[in-house]
Amino acid sequence: MNALLPNLLAQATSLPSIAPEGGSAWMPPQASGHAAEVDAVFYFIYWVSVFFFVLIVALMVYFVLRYRRRVEGELPRLHSSHSLALEVTWTIIPLILVIVMFYVGFRGFMDLANPPGQAMDIYVTGQKWLWTFKYPNGHDDTELHVPIDTPVRLILASNDVIHSFYIPAFRIKKDAVPGRYNKMWFRPTRTGEYLALCSEFCGTQHSDMRARVVVHEPGLYEKWLTDVSDPFKTHTPAEVGALLVSRRCSGCHTVDGRAHVGPTFRGIFGHEVGIKGQPSVIVDENYIRESILTPSAKIVAGFENVMPTFKGQLKDQEITAIIEYLKTLSKSPEERSP
């Protein structure tokens, strides 16, 4: 087996941390050009807020202690009830501060809204509960790989409900809305692995709709893209199928025999399964192909009709690879070992 595949498989099962080491007390690490600017805005407002909060609480505690009523019916010490000078002061000072806050927030937002002209475009599609990335060479992947220090523009769409694409380490977020394209951009500044999340509620597995983001050293991104674009050159169909299943199917289907949202893939090929409202079928190549392309045609008894179609998303060669992988999952252990 090629060395790349176990690595990829191992990665697919353990996602990177949402907030890896290297952040500040309130913020995750900064891994994009925007991050430092957003954090500067955050910490400016933070210290202004800390100042005013401490001021309010300190004054309140001081007044309560100093002017505490000792005997019921005690009279107040002072009778001040208005002061135009004070009212104007505590209207004008906050007004100036919030105008500054608006301005710094606006300046950072302008940078987020305007990508440089030569940015690399990657199409991002949200679908319950998976992100798909289409690279400039046409390759579809469930991971976002980008080269360091290169502006990348993401063009977001959704196939079903509203999702929101969020990379905390990059401080970027934008909704993926069905029926329109939304755009966002970033320039990664730190190599490593980060997590992309869905931050708009989208149903059962909303909190599992995550994707790995990999920022490559210069030169390694191209190598990764070439390798992943045509895995059939270097791997057997079953190996490619294992990779595809881990990336595209494992959100709902297990390979260890446990039922999840959908039935498990272990031990089904060549065996009979019950179908809701129809005669049972033997799982063969055509049945698997139909289940991928027209999932609602035959619903396995005991499961709901929730699977989206993968028509247009998986090539014939890839479907064949998945079929080959499912066959290996139905062999006994001695048959499987080479």
Binding site: S17, I18, A19, F42, I45, F52, I56, V57, L59, Y67, R69, E72, G73, E74, P76, R77, L78, H79, S80, S81, H82, S83, L86, E87, W90, T91, P94, V98, I99, M101, F102, V104, G105, F106, G108, F109, D111, L112, A113, D160, V161, I162, S164, Y166, P168, K173, K174, D175, V177, P178, G179, R180, S199, F201, C202, G203, Q205, H206, S207, D208
Partner: protein, 558 residues
């Protein structure tokens, strides 16, 4: 104890317990068909607190599920129902009607020296529309529940398979009309039933805030009504209004929804600010500081609140220019809010500050609203909003505003007017104990959520990354402490109704008119219009240790 010490010269003679609104008539029918604003207020209070119990149980279920990442007690779909029902119940059944319909209903006419609201029958209709809304929410739970979040975003809400969506939308529609009618009633009452001598600037500040709230209720709520109606039609008949698959626009829904739901935040918080403006001066025995500015800031908040809805949509794909304008307008709301906080602080200065239970809640309000308001500044800044939008930072922020401020003020108001409503005093010591649980529990629940949010944990998450477990567990423990506080409160308040000491007419030394009639008030509140003075002038009130209440020095007890 009799009401012989009542400040009102119209108090009935000593001896027999005086007839009041609670004892004037008997039987279930006398309550169900009452048009007495005080009885309707009591029915509202009981109903809203029951809904609060239900919403609170859902909150505890949510927090318990989040004790561990992945499954703790229920599956993801059930969890999604829990947070949806928690949000919908707390907002539409508890917080929006809470202070105006329960407390405002009780005290607004009395503060005006009036016998009732301008339209007593409309008031009863408002109550029954609330009941219809509550019943439909229960029907929604029975018919397969809802998992859309309280925001009902399209296309999720038009495509989800759960069967409770249309019933709960209809319920919210009913609640909207309940709210509109209450607002209408309050506006007409304040315009037409003010007594001679009470100009606009001699009204108690609670009435200014209820008036500002009522303007928002009647102007914004119809937009919610039509939006929900369109959503119901779309879901039932598959008409393309918001759903992109049918030719609609999902962002249009968000614009419509937030055009109501942002003012709705101020529908919740403005009455709360009004309650605080009553409690702080009374328990400082000192005239409210900056009356005109507090009154005008309520009107300013009501007006500005209509022009900030787009700040809920900074990452939705609305244009950069629109987002910029909404960011600028959003900051406008912070100024009148800050003005109020500084005026309350200035009222404390030099006062005679009593830390009775209502005042504890008012001081807690100033702290928690301070934090809730200041964290709103982060969200108004566009660049910071992009990172924080849709995370637990938002959850923490709006809980500080809605629970830490709106609900805490309502608790303060309940403790403040409890002797007036029930005629009984609750145990001060137990009240302070419950307060400690509520204050510590609240902060332990929600402060860690700011940290979860800035580190990137999105809201409405069933399964969270394990590095957030400690913060989540702190939050869950906090929610249990809150629950303990509320249980203690329920026990001593109920105990006071049956075994509490009778309350004097004016236990705290308030100068607004409700403290001039007996506790509890007679059905018609006043036999003849009471003399109107400055609502914050406490100088002619003296403490009478015999009755543990305040009496007017100018008009000594007979």
């Amino acid at each position: 104890m009799t009401t012989i010490d009542a400040t009102s010269p119209f108090a009935p003679p000593a001896g027999d317990p005086p007839v009041n609104y609670l004892t004037a008539t008997r039987g279930l029918r006398s309550w169900l068909f009452t048009i007495d604003h005080k009885r309707i207020a009591v029915m509202y209070l009981v109903s809203i607190l029951t809904a609060f119990l239900l919403g609170g149980i859902f909150a505890l279920l949510v927090r318990t599920e989040l004790w561990t990442p992945g499954r703790t007690i229920v599956d993801a779909d059930r969890y999604n129902q829990f947070f949806t029902l928690h949000g919908a119940i707390m907002i539409f059944l508890v917080l929006i009607p809470g202070t105006p319909a329960a407390l405002g209903n009780f005290v607004l006419p009395i503060m005006l020296g009036a016998k009732d609201l301008a339209f007593p029958r409309l008031n009863l209709l408002s109550y029954y529309l609330w009941v219809a809304g509550a019943v439909l929410a229960v029907v929604a739970i029975a018919l397969g529940s809802v998992d859309t979040g309280w925001t009902f975003y399209v296309p999720y809400s038009t495509t989800t398979s759960m069967g409770g969506v249309v019933p709960i939308l209809t319920g919210v529609l009913m609640l909207g009309f309940s709210s509109i009618f209450t607002g209408l009633n309050f506006i007409v009452t304040i315009h037409k039933l003010r007594p001679p001598g009470m100009g606009w600037f001699r009204m108690p500040l609670l009435l200014w805030s209820l008036y500002a709230t009522a303007i928002m209720q009647i102007l914004a709520t119809p937009v919610l009504a039509i939006t929900l109606l369109l959503l119901i039609v779309e879901r039932l008949l598959q008409l393309g209004i918001f759903q992109p698959g049918l030719g609609g626009d999902p962002l249009l829904y968000q614009h419509f929804f937030w055009f109501y739901s942002h003012p709705a935040v101020y529908i919740m918080i403005l009455p709360a600010m009004g309650v605080i403006s009553e409690i702080v001066p009374v328990f400082s025995r000192k005239h409210i500081f900056g009356y005109d500015f507090i009154a005008m800031s309520s009107i300013a908040i009501a007006m500005f609140s209509f022009f900030v809805w787009g700040h809920h949509m900074f990452v939705s794909g609305q244009s950069t220019l629109v987002a910029t304008i909404f960011s600028l307008l959003t900051y406008s709301v912070s100024i009148p809010s800050a003005v109020k906080v500084f005026n309350w602080l200035a009222t404390l200065r030099g006062g005679s500050i009593s830390l009775r239970t209502p005042m504890l809640y008012a001081l807690a309000f100033i702290c928690l609203f301070g934090l809730g308001g200041l964290t709103g500044l982060f969200l108004g800044a566009l660049a910071a909003n992009v990172h924080l939008h849709g995370t637990y930072f938002i959850v923490a922020h709006f809980h500080y505003v809605m629970m830490g401020s709106a609900l805490v003020a309502m608790l303060g108001g309940i403790h403040y007017w409890w002797p007036k409503i029930t005629g009984r005093l609750y145990s001060e010591r137990w009240g302070q104990l419950a307060f400690v649980f509520v204050f510590i529990g609240f902060n332990l629940t929600f402060f860690p959520q700011f940290l979860m949010g800035t580190h990137g944990m999105p809201r409405r998450y069933y399964n969270y990354p394990p590095e957030f477990q400690l913060l989540n567990q702190m939050s869950t423990v906090g929610s249990y402490l809150l629950a303990v506080g509320f249980v203690i409160m329920a026990v001593y308040l109920l105990h006071s109704v049956f075994a509490g000491r009778p309350a004097p007419a004016n236990p705290w030394g308030g100068a607004t008119l409700e403290w001039r009639c007996a506790s509890p008030p007679p059905t018609h509140n006043f036999d003849s219009p009471p003399p109107v003075g400055d609502p914050y002038d406490y100088r002619d009130l003296v403490y009478n240790p015999r009755s543990a209440g305040y009496v007017s020095a100018a008009r000594p007890a007979p």
